[in-house]
Every structure is written in C-alpha cells, then in structure tokens.
C-alpha cells in the first residue's frame, strides 16, 4: 500500500469519524518495499494540492523515511529545463531545451507512489484499533463488536 494512500484513509469505526486524532493512521512494525512505477509529473502536480502535508510529514517521520520538504513544493518546482542534444542530429552540435522532472518530483514520486507498506499495521490514534497490512493489502474489516 502506497504512502500516498494513507492521505485518504482513516479509522473505519463510526465513533472515530468525527475525532481529529483518528487521521492519519499510524503505521507500526512496518516492512516497506519499493514498487517501481512510471514517473508522471502531471499526476504529481494534480495530487499535490490535495495532500494533508503536515499529517503526511508525520507519517513519513514515523516510518523513518527521508523527511518531506517543510512546506508543500510549488508546482513549478516539479520540473526543470534541461539542454539536450537534438534528435536526429548526428553532429551533436544542436541542443534543444526540454522540461524534465526535477529532483523534488523524483523524490516525491519515490516516496508517495513507489514506497509501499508491505507488512505491518495501521493504528488508529483515537481508539487504538490496529488494522493489519499483509502482502501490501490493508484490511479494514472490523470484528462484529466494533462495528
């Protein structure tokens, strides 16, 4: 399960829905894995304004991952211009300017979309219930008495 997904998950129990300590869930005993994905700057650009940056930073810290930038990166900072040899130019003399993902974008992509919780649990900060993650799948089914 992607780190990004944690931004859209909270406790499944009704009594926790109005509690502001239920979000975000806290990963514990997490075993992480990298699941490579195609880099998509446009997707990052779209998703960035929707992130709860502070909460996500907290989760990233709890997982012991490299910290997020202190504030949300600007959309402009996701790309940079680079000079590149023009295509079909055997001389290599002509260069063109292309827009490529910046290091900021590459880092965010790695952290939010490629870094996944493989095993472990997600703990609610309000009721303390633990949701298991097995083989990358988080399970939010509640035992009968907690529904």
């Amino acid at each position: 399960m992607k780190i990004l997904t944690l931004n859209f998950l909270t406790c499944a129990r009704k009594l926790c829905k109005s509690s502001n300590t239920a979000f975000p869930l806290h990963p514990q005993d997490a075993e992480l894995e990298i699941v490579e994905q195609d880099m998509n700057v446009e997707f990052l650009r779209n998703i960035l304004p929707r992130l709860m940056w502070e909460e996500l930073s907290g989760v990233v810290g709890e997982l012991g991952l490299p910290a997020l930038p202190p504030t949300v990166p600007t959309l402009e900072s996701l790309t940079e211009k680079k000079l590149k040899a023009a295509e079909n130019d055997p001389t290599g003399m002509n260069v063109v300017e292309v827009e490529v993902p910046s290091q900021v974008a590459l880092d965010l992509h790695r952290l939010l979309l490629e870094t996944c919780v493989k095993e472990g649990k997600l703990v609610c900060g309000s009721c303390g219930h633990e949701y298991q993650v097995r083989e990358g799948i988080a399970n939010f089914l509640l035992p009968g008495h907690l529904v």
Partner: protein, 264 residues
Amino acid sequence: MSSSSASYGEAYEAQHVHEVYEQIASHFSSTRYKPWPIVERFLKELPDGAIGVDVGCGNGKYLAVNPRVFIVGSDRSTNLIRIAKTHEPHSAVVADNLSLPHPLESFDFAISIAVVHHLSTPERRIEAVKAILELLRRPTNANGMGAGKALIYVWALEQKDSRRGWDEGHEQDVMVPWVMKGGDKSSKTKKGKGKKKKDKTEDQAEAPELQEADHKAEDKTFLRYYHLYKNGELEHDINEAGGAVIESGYEKDNWWAIAVPKSS
C-alpha cells in the same frame, strides 16, 4: 431497525454475498473486463487530479479507466483486492461498504457499481448509499455547486428482454447462480474463446450458460443474493440517505443515478 435484525442482515450477506465472491474471485474476475458506458463516461469526464473512491471495486475494472485521477478502491474480498491493486496509479484496500475507512466530506467523486443491490434489507441499502454520500465534498452553495458526485449502479427488476426475463411484479429478492467449472482446464478453454466473448455485456458474461462448454461433473454452483431495484427505488433510497439525484437513468438491465450530498 432492531440490532438483532441488523446482525441477521449482516450474517445473511456474509454467507450469500461475501463468501461467494471470495470463492469465485479469480473466475469472476476473468469475466469482468468491459466497463459499462455510463460508468466509463462518468470517470472520463472527471477533471484531472480528482480524488475518489470505488466502493465495492471488485477486481478493479473501473480503476483502469482513467489514470489521470486517483481512486482508492475497496472491497470485502481480499482475493478481488489482490487483483484490483495492480491498477496503477490507484490503490485498493479491504473494507466493508458500511464501515468505510475514509475521511468524511473529502472526496470529489465516488462510484459504487453493482454493490448496493447485495444488501439484504431496505435499511442496510439506504445506509450503504449514505456511507458513500458522506465521503463527498459538501456543496458550497444551496444549488449544490462544488459538491462531490457519486455514481451508483444497481441491477434492475425490469429486464424482460434479458435472458433472465425478470420484470415488474416479479419477486425483488432473488438468488442468482454463478456456475464455476471444476478443474483448471476451464481457464485454458476460456482463453480460446476470448475474441468471441468480447462483445458480451456484463450480464451475459455472468450467465451460467457461458461456462457450459466442456463441463464434466465437477461444476460448482454458487448462489448470490440480489435485491432487484424497481423503477424509482434507487432515487428513493438516495433521497432517504440525504442525497439529491442530479441525473438518473436505465442502462442495459440496470438503474443508475448520479447524486450529490445535500447542503448541511
């Protein structure tokens, strides 16, 4: 509703819906490849970067439609989620549609396709619609502007032209068979028929007849519970759940509606 009848409904669905899907997951999944046009249109018209949920996502068929939005799918079946989670860039988790693990009032859209009709009492169906609507962004004015939108799709009672032939006046609570062929021979046979099956609709793909090709003695029949919706019933449930219907219709044996939460 008393808590004993609520837990009866839950136990009934556990046996006649959840258990069945868990068992037929991979076979079911191999027949689910063609999105319904209304659902496809709804997903493709979303603005880039929209954030949504797919409640009861099954094998994640609809997660494959639009990679420019982000969807968190959920389903009760771990076996189906294992398949659904392969659809990047989206995500999929195991959850119950009456206890969804999402923050309230924060999503731009929701879809719930062929799910609400599996709940076995009127109260639980309305609760299921409510659980979807409460995840959506609230409208920013009285005209419903700015609200998140949900597309809900259920099986219709009125389908006299379908092979099943149900129509007005028929019993609405039905058990529908799913026939799974014994042995691993079946998957090979089906691959060869892939071309031919391409034009089949969802309902046809689901029909027992399709799997009858070379069956010996080991076929297994699973019965799933369905509540067949009659004309106007989905709109009624949405209103009861505190939603407003902005568009609705009938598509190939199914009723569908697009709804928004009312301003609170």
